[in-house]
Amino acid sequence: MTLLALENVSVAYDHQHYILRDFNLNIERGQFISLLGPSGCGKTTTLRLIAGFLEAKSGQFTFNGKNYTKVPVNKRNFGFVFQSYALFPHLSIFENVAFGLRLRKVSDSEIAKRVSRMLEIVSLTGYEKRFPKELSGGQKQRVAIARALVIEPDLLLFDEPLSNLDANLRVNMRVEIRRIQQELGITTVYVSHDQEECFSISDQVAIMNNGVIEQLDRPSTIFKYPRTEFVAKFIGFSNFIEFAYREDRDGEIWLKDKATSFRVPKHAGTDKSGGRKIAIRPEDINITADSPFIPSTGQIDTGKELNQVAGAVMVSTFLGRSYQYVVRTEMGDFTVNREMEEPYANGQKVLLTFPGDKLVIVN
């Protein structure tokens, strides 16, 4: 059931520069959805719009069946967690968490009960009397989460909550956030530019670019089957080949150029009609030394197998576990990763094989 819907929403600064234009987004109740994208893609704007910090130029925001477009921030009952934590420096941890409850005229005994339960959930029992300055970054962010949750918000919003924390803490905190969210079953919108963070934590990820959602899917689906070139690039597909012709056959798509042809089996990543561009990750291309002679017969190999291209290594770099090669072929340059003991020398003739099940067609 749809809890939140943005319909044809536009946001512009100084009446000209549109951040969002006719933007649409639907979120189901109880879901954890991430907005992911490079800076300037409109993800934070979307979040601030939902929170009520920004007003839309046009369009409608529906929440729980009601029109929320004009409802002011302080009447929305949404919890917001900031990148900067935004704890009140003049208030103790207890009073920070109690802030929203005091505004709601909750009785003192009830406040004490709910604050201590919330501090327990974020594992900060015993910190009630401290002040924000005495806490570490991770602790501060947990206070901020407790403060947002204690008012029992109808929606929880996160604006890059972990980007000020160091790497280890970030991993711990995202597990915490996911745990708390599932424990309370609260619908959550999470903004980040960290791909791993979003993929590990979310039910659904919306990849945004230039104010548009390029793809909204489960993380594993996006990871395997990006629908657009932007998404594919964003999640690490660095090789793209565009073909001039396309033919749909039984269970296969034939993509052709003057020189080459590829056959791609139909699967979830290639079911887009009309697409003529394929993408593949560097680690999914098989690279082998290309010898003009077939060793067993001593004959010159002329006919290449399906989805193969010959080329030569231009650059090789050591990545730790593997080597990365830039291979120049008649179809352009490809980036290929392979784990091996001894790298190929520059200039080495190689054969690239593109496995059909690893190829996706992008728009």
């Binding site: 929170a51 009520g52 302080n74 917001f80 935004a86 420096p89 003049h90 802030f99 929203g100 002040f131």
Partner: protein, 273 residues
């Protein structure tokens, strides 16, 4: 070891302050306790027994207190407004706000004579509009002094408040709003408590400034004396340096007490941690 030489650089300033400030202060304060070679509190007792003297002291305190309060009431919203603006507008409005500080105090005070006088602008407007029959007696009263001082000192409060307010993280306002605060509650529960250090700094500057102000009360106060003009009268006109020293000492003590009290308050309200 090399660093020690750096301290010698402080010597000229230190010497200057010791010779021309510390020693005279000690001498001034010391001299109030002696009459004809005898240690005595007679100077102070004489001052405190005289109703006329005490009245001057109380008037001065009253003028300073009201000036400080008025500056807070008038300055707070202005400072809040300025602190929310873009840097360009902020700079422009701040420059406007501190303008009174940049004009000569004599010129500033004399302008108020033109406005507040019996046949001044204010009275001729009010009479002309039929709001009053008789001109108001404002000039040469403590009210006129207060008006002059508020005009002079308002910029100090605005500057010290804008200084703290613009450092308040805007996310705190958003956080408070998202938790359910109205604009007013945000101001009451977040902006105001976090502005207290600036408020106290500004208040100290204004209170002490008003206590010791000389030009404004001289020009606008008429025969009504405040402590600084009274001191001047004793020293220069009456050539009674002993009384002048007593008054000076009392002023120093009151000033220090006020600063101490306010600093203590600011510690209480200070952001803990």
């Amino acid at each position: 070891m090399k660093k020690r030489y750096v301290y010698w650089l402080m010597l000229p300033g230190l010497l200057f302050l010791t010779l021309f400030m510390l020693l005279p202060i000690i001498h001034t304060i010391g001299s109030t306790f002696f009459q004809e070679g005898q240690f005595t509190f007679e100077g102070y007792l004489h001052f405190l027994r005289d109703r006329y003297y005490v009245d001057i002291l109380l008037t001065t305190m009253q003028v300073s207190l009201v000036t400080t309060m008025a500056c807070i009431v008038v300055g707070f919203p202005v400072a809040y407004h300025i602190s929310m603006l873009s840097p360009r507008k902020k700079g422009f409005l701040l420059a406007l706000a501190i303008f009174p500080l940049l004009t000569s105090s004599v010129v500033r005070s004399f302008s108020w004579i033109i406005i507040l006088g019996k046949n001044g602008l204010l009275n001729s407007w009010l009479v002309g509009l039929g709001l009053i029959d008789q001109p108001l007696e404002i000039l040469y009263t403590p009210t006129a002094v207060m008006i002059g001082l508020i005009h002079l000192f308002l910029p100090l409060l605005i500057i010290s408040l804008v200084g703290v307010m613009e450092n308040i993280d805007p996310d705190l306002v958003k956080a408070a709003e998202s938790l359910g605060s109205s604009r007013f509650t945000v101001f009451r529960k977040v902006i105001f408590p976090l502005s207290i250090p600036g408020l106290i700094l500004g208040s100290i500057l204004i209170f002490v400034g008003s206590m010791t102000a000389y030009t404004t009360p001289t020009v606008l106060g008429g025969k009504k004396r405040v402590i600084a003009t009274f001191l001047y009268q004793n020293a220069i006109t009456l050539n009674d340096w002993n009384s002048a020293s007593v008054i000076a000492t009392i002023m120093i003590v009151i000033t220090l007490l006020v600063i101490g009290l306010m600093t203590k308050m600011s510690h209480k309200f200070r952001v803990k941690g």
